[in-house]
């Protein structure tokens, strides 16, 4: 440990020297790693936004339960009570005709004028039920079965479709992560092996002088780390440019849904990519280093 601390400066100098001794191939590797990590970053971003959407929708998953017309006020209040006690229901409340109308007006915006064509309010009252998305499949039939319920309107189709898309993206993302990981590991470990090969005489001399394998190998671990971190940095910068561009283009919303908070997301993505870069750099160098023992 003492030796390690005493020699940190030396290790960095050696690492930089190794990188400089093969600038072109290191440069190409950094560019390659940057692009790969950029790709990874895009997938992570899309998954992040997708998950954000779904969790927003999950929070807002609501269905409208229309009750039979012959109910009086007390029956309706009791019915609302019954529904709100069903497992998986987070909230149930009555929306009367007036509210239903003003809600529609809100949705229509400018076009709300058409509603003035009606003499009477065309909307009926209903019970707005907020539910936990995961319990949707059980809750909806349960509500429909209630005697006082006429019918239930839900947005189940849209939700499950969206959910499917997100799962798909996640699987795709996982595949991309695996591919990125393997590719980066191959690039880095190859580079390290090359560095070791180029320095094999020096390594042999150090061994003859009694240096430990850790002392000999650490500069190469640094090489791997520096290169992947640099690649990660460039990839992140490219990605941030893309994200900023897209946000400026899309404004604040996309498909009626608000985009996630940019600052939070960017911080998450930077940490993710740099973390992955670090891990891949470390593993790649260790794989590359494992060849070090075989040339003595």
């Amino acid at each position: 440990m003492k030796t390690f601390i005493y020699n940190i400066g030396y290790f960095f100098k050696e690492a930089i020297r190794t990188i400089k001794s093969n600038v072109l191939s290191n440069f190409i590797s950094v560019i390659g790693t940057s692009l790969i990590l950029f790709l990874l970053g895009m997938v992570v971003t899309v998954t992040y936004i997708g998950n954000e959407f779904v969790s927003k929708l999950e929070q807002e998953a609501e269905i409208n339960a229309y009750y039979k017309e012959n109910l009086n006020n007390e029956d309706i209040i009791e019915l609302t009570e019954v529904i709100s006690n069903i497992e998986g229901v987070t909230d149930a409340r009555l929306v009367d005709e007036e509210e239903a109308k003003s809600y529609m007006e809100g949705m229509l915006g400018e076009e709300a004028k058409i509603l003035e064509l009606f003499d009477e309010n065309p909307f009926t009252a209903y019970i707005e039920v907020r539910i936990n998305l995961s319990t949707m499949d059980n809750v909806i039939p349960e509500i429909s079965r209630l005697d006082d319920i006429d019918y239930v309107r839900d947005n189940k189709g849209v939700l499950s479709q969206l959910n499917g898309i997100i799962r798909g993206i996640e699987i795709f993302g996982a595949l991309i992560i695996i591919a990125v990981g393997i590719t980066t590991l191959i690039i880095i470990s190859h580079l390290i092996r090359q560095g070791i090969y180029n320095n094999k005489e020096q390594i042999n001399t150090l061994r003859l002088l009694g240096a430990s394998e850790g002392f000999i190998g650490f500069p190469y671990i640094l090489v791997g780390l520096l290169l992947t971190l640099l690649g990660g940095l460039i990839g992140t910068i490219l990605l941030l440019l893309l994200i900023n561009g897209s946000y400026d283009l899309l404004g604040n919303g996309f498909l009626f849904l608000p985009l996630p908070d940019r600052g939070l997301m960017v911080r998450y993505i930077i940490m993710f990519i740099m973390g992955i870069s670090f891990i891949l750099g470390l593993l790649g160098s260790l794989f590359g280093l494992s060849s070090i023992g075989k040339n003595n």
Binding site: T3, N7, T205, L208, L209
Partner: protein, 225 residues
């Protein structure tokens, strides 16, 4: 300190480089090994540094048998040895100072101390004006002296010097020999191979081994101070 019993070394291609060597070297002894080219001098030093292992017989250094696979023991032994290789094995692209320092970095001293000691060693071998020069730009004789500085700066228990005066003029050679002798006086075991028999005739209190065709043919110990 060093004991060999019926030690033989056969290289994989069948060359029998050392045969049936019996040897005992004490702490603080200075040993000159002479002999014609190909007689096995370098091979003997390789065994002492754990670069080769006995194919027959045994070799014990500082109480530890030299057998393949004891990596930790080998490392510890090597840290106590100051080797001067026949082909120097300096690290190219680095200055003389860096080369000498590299030999000391994993011995537990702090970088400041290492730098001081490395500097002193280079001054001792007469290279103070070449401290910052890259080793590949030095003459053979200068490179050889960097190699010697690297070995002695480590303050080893054993110095193994293969032809350390091979590329030096007489004055420099004598200077290096007296420098190595200083170490002997500090209780360091010093083992030197050389062709320069005329240079060592005058050196007092040393052991002289002559090798021929893998065997030690003459062994003369002088127990003079």
């Amino acid at each position: 300190m060093i004991t060999a019993n019926k030690l033989s070394l056969r290289y994989p291609d069948g060359t029998l480089a050392l045969r049936d060597i019996d040897l005992h070297i004490d702490k603080g002894e200075m040993v000159f090994i002479t002999g014609p080219s190909g007689s096995g001098k370098t091979s003997l030093l390789k065994l002492l540094l754990g670069m080769e292992f006995p194919t027959e017989g045994s070799l014990t250094i500082m109480g530890k048998p030299m057998v393949k696979g004891h990596n930790k023991d080998m490392r510890n032994l090597r840290r106590n040895i100051g080797p001067v290789f026949q082909e120097f094995k300096l690290i190219e692209g680095r200055s003389s100072l860096e080369n000498v320092m590299t030999g000391m970095r994993f011995l537990g001293s702090n970088p400041k101390k290492i730098k001081e000691e490395a500097y002193k060693a280079l001054v001792k071998v007469g290279l103070e004006d070449k401290i910052k020069s890259k080793v590949e730009n030095l003459s053979w004789g200068q490179q050889q002296r960097v190699a010697i500085a690297r070995a002695v700066a480590r303050k080893p228990s054993i110095i193994l010097a293969d032809e350390p005066t091979g590329n030096l003029d007489k004055d420099n050679a004598l200077h290096i020999l007296s420098l190595l002798k200083e170490f002997k006086n500090n209780n360091t075991t010093v083992i030197i191979t050389t062709h320069a028999t005329h240079l060592i005739e005058d050196v007092q209190g040393v052991t002289h081994l002559h090798m021929d065709n893998g065997s030690i043919t003459v062994e003369r110990k002088e127990i003079v101070g």
